[in-house]
Every structure is written in structure tokens, then in C-alpha cells.
Amino acid sequence: MRGTGGLLVGLAVALLPLVVEAQERSPMDPRLHTPGKLTVGTGDPVYPPWMLNNDPTGGEGFENGLVYALADEMGFAPEDVVWVGQTFDQAIAPGAKPYDFSIQQISVTEARAEVVTFSQVYFQPDKAVIALPGRAVEEAASFAELQEARWGAVIGTTDNDYLVNILGIDNAAIYNEQVDVFQAMQAGQIDATLVALPTALYVTAVQLPEARIVALLPPDENDRGHGLLFEFGNPLVEWVDEALAAVIERGVVEELKQTYLVADPDLPVITE
């Protein structure tokens, strides 16, 4: 009798992981923020070309395109993807997050990885210098000449880290929003700003047509590129990472890049 009981318990323990396994890695995974839904955080507002028309649900744009491809890979229907709009400050705040993961052009760095968990990197943008015509920085051909300009950048981006670490500029004016940077540029308070190339292309084409991309800059090796942001230690990372790898493997990211993030190949590159 005792032997049978022990056998039954042993059997139950052995089968338990299988039962759980069946639920995990499916849309009904109990570890999801809301089982049955894929809850994704992003900025509010969202900017092209990362997401077009300030509407993540439209599916048009690099990042929301990627999320819908990812959701499909993970077994979610497009209508089961729920978007949560948040500021950058909310995204980096400690504590429980109201989503499974966040996508907001967040750069993966070592220091950040100590307090949040990142997926693998899905995109590594070049950095581009934007300036209004007629400024000295337009003619810059070396880091030394770039250092003479007055710089501005947006808080929370790795653009300021780039200015400090690569260009040696530690007095850039730091603004809350991208629009503030361009306002300051038009007010003559700063000469130049540094942004990811896709953003630069959009800004110079639509938001501020009189501004232009002066040059491209080489990547910073401490900035590993954009990743998905998870709450620290979120167990979903493995599953999402595998799906992300599969999506990248299928060439979806490359396709999205071609559609939304095409660069101008004629831009000069300043490397030293």
C-alpha cells in the first residue's frame, strides 16, 4: 500500500512539469501579464518611422511591425496584442510593469541590464548628426570640429552617452522630448543634435525639412543596439527570445528595415 502511494506521488511529480509545460509557451501561458493576450508597452506618443500615424495597433512601422510578427510566431492573433502607452520614465522605473515587454528603441547597455532584463538585440542603428544649414558644424569633418558646436540631445537616449564617450562632449543641453531639441535648435540655443539614423531621416524629411543630416558616426561598442525591455527576471524572456530569433532568421527584420528604415547611402561618415 505504502509502495503504491509512493509510486503515485512519484508519478504525479514526474508528470507535473509536463502538465505545466503544456500551458507554458502558449497564448494561455499563466506567466503572461494577462493570459490570452500579449501585452506590449511602448512610448506615448510614438514616433515614425518606428511606428507610423501615432498608432501602434495600425501595424505600420518598424517596431509594431516587428511586434506583430513576433506575436504571430508566438501563436497570438493580431487582435490579442494589447498596447500600453508609457513614458520613458515609467518604463525604467523599478517594480512591477503593466506589460509583458516594452519596445521603445531602448538601447541595451550593461548598466541597464542590472536593473531590467533585455531580449536579444534586434536592431543596431547608426548615429547621425543633424544641424540647420549655415552652421559651422555643417562643414565638420573631424571629431575636433564637431566638439566646437553646441550640442543638444534627448534624455533617456544613449545619444548623450555617445556624445560623452565617443566625441568627448560633456556639456550638451539635455531636453525632455525630441521636439524640445528641435525647438532649441531653431531658437539658436544649440547647433547640432545626434539621433539614431532612422529618426534622423524622418525628422529631416517631415518634422524639420530645413534641417539636414550632416554626417554619420561610427557605432559605440558599449551600446549594443535596441532590445525588448522586460521586468527584471521575467521568465518569459526565453520564450520571447526564441521567437525573436526565429523572426530575425526568417528575414522579417531585414524586410521591415527595407520598408521603413532605408538610409541615404551618400552621407559622409566621420570616424575620428
Binding site: 523599478p94 541597464r112 534624455i155 537616449t157 543641453a173 539635455i174 524640445d180 532649441a184 539658436g188 540655443q189
Partner: protein, 291 residues
């Protein structure tokens, strides 16, 4: 003196007063309240500390908010930013005190031909006291420089400071005015009877008394202004708060904000004590006058 004598007389008439209680050194009674308050402090703060540190997320919060390494790393830049806070604070403060005085004096002039200027001051105060300081900083910091006015600087620091002066002067002008109104009407009458003109009355009779009346209230504004200089961070001025935010945004570690908070406390707590001291001295002066 008179009161004591009176009491003594009354006691005499009712027979001998009861003997004074035997004096003994009651260290128990002296020490017990101290002991109880020390104990209750330990219990209350201990319970709070235990409740906070036993929270499941505490190790992560400690790592993200009270990380000594991060504080050390952020300190030099935050201190550098704080230096800007102090400079802006002193310059803006000086401008506010002068400009607000002009406003308050114009508003208290009684002569009829000053009516349009009085009206202007009333409108000014209504507008600048009614609009949030943050909005003024944004409007002046980004809006005015974009006009590219010839001969004027276009730096955010300059225009942000202008916005702070305009906003705070509206409050301070009202404080001055309350001080002016608190000077008794007879002082004006007396000055007039001596043959002083309106301007002389204000300059020699009213203002010296009015300013002394409002010093405690002004100290309060001085402390508040010291912290509100941080509003300039939204227009790209790298003050202590902005430097701390830059560190936070780049590493996702909030310890730098604690560093900034500590610096502000270091500066404002002595100011608060000074304000207390000034207030107390002022009160003593009044009581003396009243006595």
C-alpha cells in the same frame, strides 16, 4: 512685581501658606520622559525600517535607489549641476527682490495720476501669479529666443531665469504689499503732516517698517525658490536635477536622484533654521514693542 506682592497679601489674609514641597532630586521623573521618547523613537522607526527592508522588492530598491557605487559615480556631475542651481538662485533672487519692490511700491502709490500704472501692476500680478511657473519657463525658454530678437541673448539659461523672476516677483510683490498695508494709516498721516511728499512718505516712513514686517514671509519664498530653480532643467539647463536624471536615464539607476536630494537638503535646512531664527527674533521684537 505688583502681581507677586498682591498674591502675597492675599495669602497672608487667609493664614500661613502651605509649606513648599520638599525638594528632592527626582532623577526618575526627569529621566523617564527622555527614556520613553527614546524608546518610542526606536520602536516606531525600527518598525518602519523593518517594514520597508523586509519588503520582497527591497534588495532591488536598495540596489536601484541607495547604491553607494552609483552615488559616488554620479556625485561629481550632480555637484557641478548644483553649483549652477546656486548661481541661478542668487542672481534670480536679487532680481526678484528689486523688481517685486518696484511693483509693490507702484501699487501702493495713492496719487490719482498713477492709476494706469496701478492697473498695469494688478494685471501683471494676476497674469504671472496665475500661470504655472513651469509653463512660463517653457514659453520664455523656447518661445522668446525663437523670435531672434536683436541684441538679446538667446540662451535658455537667461530666458528661463527671466521667467522665474517674472513669476516669483508677482508673489513677492504681494508679500511686500501686505507689509505695506500692515503699516498703520497714522504713519502716513504723520508723515504728511511733517510735509513729506508721497514719495518721501513711502521711502522714509512706510517702507522701512513694511520690509521689516515681511522678512519671515520672504525667507519662505527664498527657500522655495532655491528648489524651483530645478524647473530650468526642462529647457536644457544642466542643473543638479537634470544631471541626476541624465545619470538615471543612462543607467536606469535612481541613486543619483538621492544625491541631488541630499544636496538640496544640505542647502535648504540651514536656510530653514535661519528663517526660524529671523522669525523668532522678529516676534521678540514685536513683543518688546507691545510690552
Amino acid at each position: 512685581m505688583t502681581a507677586e506682592t498682591g498674591a502675597g497679601t492675599r495669602a497672608d489674609s487667609r493664614g500661613a501658606p502651605p509649606p513648599p514641597p520638599k525638594h528632592r532630586y527626582a532623577w526618575r521623573e526627569a529621566a523617564l520622559p527622555t527614556l520613553i521618547s527614546a524608546l518610542s523613537i526606536v520602536v516606531v522607526f525600527g518598525a518602519l525600517g523593518w517594514a520597508i527592508t523586509s519588503a520582497e522588492q527591497w534588495p532591488r530598491i536598495r540596489h536601484q535607489f541607495f547604491n553607494v557605487d552609483a552615488m559616488v559615480a554620479a556625485f561629481p556631475r550632480v555637484l557641478q549641476g548644483f553649483w549652477i542651481n546656486l548661481q541661478v538662485w542668487l542672481v534670480v533672487l536679487a532680481c526678484i527682490l528689486v523688481w517685486a519692490l518696484v511693483l509693490a511700491v507702484v501699487r501702493s502709490l495713492r496719487a490719482p495720476w498713477f492709476a494706469p500704472f496701478r492697473l498695469m501692476v494688478v494685471v501683471y500680478i494676476d497674469i504671472f501669479r496665475g500661470v504655472p511657473a513651469l509653463l512660463l519657463v517653457l514659453l520664455f525658454g523656447f518661445g522668446v529666443p525663437a523670435l531672434n530678437l536683436p541684441g538679446l541673448p538667446n540662451s535658455g539659461l537667461f530666458w528661463g531665469s527671466v521667467a522665474m523672476v517674472l513669476s516669483y516677483a508677482a508673489y513677492v510683490a504681494e508679500i511686500y504689499r501686505s507689509g505695506i498695508d500692515a503699516v498703520h494709516e497714522s504713519q502716513r498721516a504723520a508723515a504728511k503732516s511733517l510735509g513729506l511728499t508721497e514719495w518721501q512718505t513711502i521711502r522714509y516712513a512706510i517702507l522701512p517698517q513694511a520690509l521689516r514686517n515681511v522678512v519671515p514671509a520672504l525667507m519662505n519664498i527664498v527657500v522655495a525658490l532655491q528648489k524651483d530653480v530645478a524647473l530650468l532643467s526642462v529647457i536644457g539647463v544642466r542643473d543638479a536635477v537634470r544631471e541626476a536624471q541624465i545619470y538615471t536615464a543612462s543607467t536606469f539607476n535612481y541613486s543619483s536622484l538621492i544625491v541631488a536630494a541630499g544636496l538640496f537638503l544640505l542647502a535648504t535646512i540651514p536656510m530653514a533654521r535661519l528663517a526660524d531664527y529671523v522669525t523668532r527674533r522678529d516676534r521678540e521684537r514685536r513683543l518688546q514693542l507691545a510690552g
